[in-house]
Amino acid sequence: MNRYLAFFVLMLLVAPLMAGQARSGYAYLTPEARELQDDDFGNPGLASVDEGQALFYQPGANGKPCAACHGDQGEKLDPERIARYPVYSERLRKPITLREKIRQCRSDKQGGPALDYASPDAVALESFVRRLALGVPVAVDVSGPMAAHYAAGKQLFHTRWGQVDIACHQCHDYHAGKHFRGQILTQGQTNGMPVYRLATGEIAGTHERISQCLTSLRAEPFAIGSPEYIDFEVYMNARGNGLKIETPAIRY
């Protein structure tokens, strides 16, 4: 009897910790999928990283490639800084995602041509840059003016969408680890973004992935790079603060 009581007390102590803990989607993968993600040659998401690296050497309109400032392997970029995106821009008075930062660099420092937020090139460059922070814990600062964006993103994450009428948190906060048909639901963390999806055979960043979710809920997706998706990204990245970056992760 005492043993049961001890177990009960232990669960009372441990349950709140378990409930609030962020878990990477990696935790829900099959051993085969984990192996694929960890394979430095076989991970199919690395194609996007390689594409990004090629673009990193490509000169902009003013003749300067990214590598001219950031080093041949991007070694002058600070991985800790990469893990802090989105960050707040005092000048623009809005959160700047990593992909937006890359776009700014192209326009402001390389003289263009402008990089479309939704273009495969933008996804590839984001993949390459975020890969530089592999293993670094996500650390988004949501204090000060970011608090409002975090709150807005949380609101979006808790809104029922589309004809199916389900909110993100109802699957990803309450039911992670359970099965939706053959698929295991994850917490919907973003530490592996952009991810290679086994279901589609394509690479997807946070905005693309939310669009896919909204479409499956029979909702009208927002535009890639829209203020709504940026707020989503602020909330979702911060929600996974402490998780190590896995780009390009393998997910369903």
Binding site: G162, D165, I166, Y174, H179, L214, R218, A219, E220
Partner: protein, 154 residues
């Protein structure tokens, strides 16, 4: 509960008009429904459900897709989900009216449910994609078919 009965009269008039005209009435986009004691006792739009068709709707990934979340007592070789409870024997635990409300709008039982509202009032939905606007996930006939099938699970 009153708000759900607003359109009911209008829809009846429409249906009656069609019937007088001699056509087989096409399914209107939405019928109103009323909840009493956590049940919807009247079939949606007065439709009569057919259990066999209901089983097909329940196990079709593009229609009811019930098996995505529930273990269903069907013999086909399927992959079932486990977000919701198994539905074998549901009719010995719930009245038909309660089963109907579960399928129509589970949020009456649990406001935080992950179960889609298969027949919520379309105006209550947010940002529905163009192709699906103005109507609920399932039609009244499909709801009644599914309810008829679930009612056989004793």
């Amino acid at each position: 509960m009153k708000r759900f009965s607003i359109h009911f009269g209008l829809v009846l008039i429409l249906v009656a008009g069609r019937a007088v005209a001699g056509d087989k009435p096409p399914e209107p986009a939405y019928f109103s429904w009323q909840v009493k004691d956590f049940a919807i006792d009247r079939p949606l739009g007065g439709r009569v459900g057919v259990a066999e068709r209901g089983m097909a709707v329940a196990s079709d990934g593009h229609r009811g897709n019930c098996l995505a979340c529930h273990l269903l007592p069907i013999s086909r070789d399927e992959v079932f989900g486990d977000l919701g409870p198994p539905l074998a024997g549901i009719a010995s635990r719930q009245s038909v009216g309660a089963i109907r409300l579960h399928v129509v709008d589970q949020s009456y039982f649990n406001p935080e449910t992950v179960m889609p509202g298969f027949y919520r009032r379309p105006e209550k939905l947010h940002r529905v994609a163009k192709a699906y606007r103005g109507r609920p996930f399932l039609s009244a006939q499909q709801i009644e078919d599914v309810v008829a099938w679930l009612a056989t699970l004793k």
